[in-house]
């Protein structure tokens, strides 16, 4: 049997909207993945520490407060510093289209916008986790 894909769903920053993060966590679990949800108000440092400790394959970052341009790249950079640059990082939330190229350049693999089906997220992870 294949090893289960391990995903960390994380809420960086001060944003308390975690309906999406929880729904995605549950959908990934139903799709057979092992999911850890950090809870709200995590610093990028805390998220990366958990990711390294749990040896996850992927991190899903959720932010609806508009702080994504600061927080998402910080997570990617810290992962690289810790030698965990191969972890697949994706994000979701209220993120303007014009911010997406910058986030991708910074190393976020994909951004999922409101209205995304959880199926799409599941497929993306399955196809891209190394």
């Amino acid at each position: 049997m294949d090893k289960k894909i391990k995903v960390l769903i994380a809420k960086p920053g001060l944003d308390g909207h975690d309906r999406g993060a929880k729904v995605v966590s549950r959908a990934l679990r139903d799709a057979g993945m092992e999911v850890i949800y950090t809870g709200i108000r995590q610093t990028p440092e805390q998220i990366v520490a958990t990711a390294v400790q749990e040896d996850v394959d992927s991190i899903g970052l959720s932010c609806l407060s508009g702080a994504h341009n600061k927080l998402f790249p910080k997570v990617v950079n810290l992962l690289q510093e810790k030698g965990a640059g191969d972890v697949l990082v994706f994000g979701g939330g209220i993120i303007p289209d014009e911010d997406i190229p910058g986030l991708k350049d910074a190393g976020v693999s994909e951004i999922f916008l409101p209205g995304t089906s959880t199926e799409d997220t599941i497929e993306f992870i399955k196809n891209n986790v190394k």
Partner: protein
């Protein structure tokens, strides 16, 4: 014909009709097997007088302005005065937000509603590390009284009512508001408005808690007590179901968990020695209005009736004003789509109409672009115009509670009330709201509903126009409102200037005094008012309270 004869005749006629239905069904099945709402309330094919058999008009429905307030809290409702049109707004700096407020007031808005950024809501100053990237994003950044003075510049605080969405640090922002008013020459007894001040739902639905539940409840009852003596026209709390619904609950759960929170606050206040008939009239509520039009109308009527009954039966309230549920409503942010955003204008219109038919006392209509960003001025104008059109053109405000007597609406009102009460009893069995939060009860219930709703969208059982049906290729939306990164830098600079220009010794003394009061258990408000007047910052004041009370950590 006697009443029994009429009932028998109805049953007979309904039996005959059912035969016709069965024939139709054998040829054309209905669109769905199950037409239940997300609250699990059956949308029957047809509602008849048999469905309202148990409803006693005098006991259960009654007259507007009278117990149990099913039909509304005022005797003349919108014939005297429309609901307050109050658009929640705030972004960037105090100066930018002040400009938006003055624009909204010019456009005919009748009350202000302040959105604070997340650092402010969690009691951090803009120069603190945790505020990084969040300053001015979801609301206005307020660090000290200096920002608050700019926020209300040229707005006469004795003329306007102001609602502030602030919870854990509500006492501090209220203190700043009092201080700004004083500078304008307005005494605190003239102030009208609301602070959200509803911390319980922060632990299970919204997330901007600071302190553990016990000291949080203490701060809340301190505010009740202070306002009773100093701000008699201030709504001391806005017990909020809005965020519970946004987090994914059903309509019934929204009513149940909100009222359960309300009961906890009343209970806490009574335990500190306050008289229910003195403070309860300043309690207010805040609900969501979502897509299912008829269920939403019934929800508001049910919430009013259930609250009135609970206040009377559980706490022995005697005054009508203590049992009267007054509430603000906001259309459902979570129902807005990023796809074909102009369709949101239609969604908001229907939701707003449901809120008005449900007898709301004040209303915020969302803007079409809010699934993408903060609303632009043009979008906010359409949202406000939506309310004005309902008020002035639709005619629904010309009579009171026009859907009363509908077999469906009365039956559903009773069912929502009964189902919400079941939840409240279950929370009682768990040992009350705080225990239920610790056990994760509400979180689990809301999470289950949110997941079921998402599933129903993904299977297209629930159609969302433009998302899972009637989709089109779209160009990325243009003209979105963006908060510039420089704003954060500017805000930090002005905070540094405030800190450099204030009387440092006065600040230090006021914070020391506050700490002593916090440790002693005395009412915190007077020392918070003193501290903010010295330009002690929000982060400094909350820092002192964090030291004394500790911080809540999600379990």
């Amino acid at each position: 014909m006697s009443c029994t004869d009429k009932k028998a005749r109805l049953a007979e006629r309904q039996g005959q009709w059912q035969g016709m239905v069965d024939k139709a069904l054998s040829r054309f099945p209905e669109r769905k097997e199950d037409f239940s709402t997300t609250s699990g309330i059956e949308m029957k094919r047809l509602f008849t007088p048999a469905d309202v058999d148990a409803v006693d008009y005098n006991e259960d429905v009654g007259f507007p302005g009278e117990f149990p307030f099913t039909r509304g809290v005022q005797p003349t409702m919108y014939r005297a005065r429309f609901w307050t049109m109050r658009q929640y707004a705030g972004f960037g700096s105090a100066k930018q937000t002040n400009e938006r407020y003055r624009y909204l007031l010019e456009q005919g808005q009748t009350g202000l509603s302040v959105a604070f950024d997340l650092p402010t809501q969690i009691g951090y100053d803009s120069d603190m590390e945790l505020a990084d990237g969040e300053v001015g994003k979801v609301g206005v950044a307020i660090d000290s009284l200096a920002d608050m003075e700019i926020l209300f510049d040229q707005i006469a605080l004795d003329k306007v009512s102001t609602s502030m969405t602030i919870n854990a640090p509500a006492a501090v922002l209220l203190a700043m508001y009092i201080a700004v008013a004083e500078k304008q020459g307005v005494s605190s007894d003239k102030l009208r408005g609301t602070i959200q001040n509803d911390v319980l739902k922060e632990y299970f639905a919204r997330g901007t808690y600071i302190f553990p539940p016990q000291p949080s409840m203490k701060i809340i009852t301190d505010i009740f007590s202070y306002c009773k003596d100093n701000l008699p026209n201030w709504n001391t709390i806005s017990i909020s179901g809005y965020h519970i619904r946004e987090a994914g609950s059903s309509a019934v759960q929204e009513v149940a968990f909100t009222l359960a929170d309300g009961l906890a606050y009343v209970d806490a206040a009574i335990k500190t020695g306050l008289d229910v008939d003195v403070f309860a009239k300043r309690l207010s509520f805040f609900f969501n209005v979502h897509n299912n039009f008829l269920e939403e109308v019934a929800k508001f009527r049910a919430a009013r009736r259930l609250w009135a009954r609970l206040m009377k039966e559980r706490f022995g309230a005697k005054k009508a004003s203590s049992m009267m549920m007054r509430f603000h409503t906001q259309t459902a942010g979570c129902s807005l789509t990023a796809q074909q955003p102009d369709n949101n204008v239609v969604r908001v219109t229907m939701q707003a109409l449901a809120a008005v038919l449900g007898g709301t006392n004040s209303l915020h209509t969302n803007s079409r672009d809010e699934a993408l960003c903060l609303p632009t001025e043009a979008s906010v104008q359409i949202a406000l115009r939506t309310q004005q059109i309902i008020a002035h053109e639709s005619g629904v405000a010309d009579t009171i509670d026009p859907l009363a007597g509908s077999y469906l609406v009365e039956s559903m009102t009773s069912e929502i009330e009964a189902k919400a009460l079941e939840y409240i009893n279950k929370i009682d069995d768990l040992g009350g709201v705080v225990k239920a939060i610790e056990a994760g009860f509400m979180q689990q219930e809301i999470g289950d509903s949110a997941y079921a709703y998402q599933k129903s969208i993904e299977t297209a059982d629930q159609v969302i126009v433009g998302v899972n049906k009637f989709t089109i290729e779209e160009a990325p939306p243009e003209n979105l409102l963006r908060i510039k990164q420089e704003m954060e830098i500017e805000q930090r600079k002005s905070l540094a200037a405030v800190k450099a220009g204030r009387d440092a010794a006065a600040v230090e003394n006021s914070l020391k005094a506050l700490k002593q009061v916090a440790e002693s258990g005395d009412n915190l408000l007077p020392s918070i008012v003193t501290a903010v007047k010295t330009y002690a910052t929000l982060g400094e004041v909350c820092g002192v309270l964090r030291e004394v009370f500790g911080e809540y950590v999600e379990g």
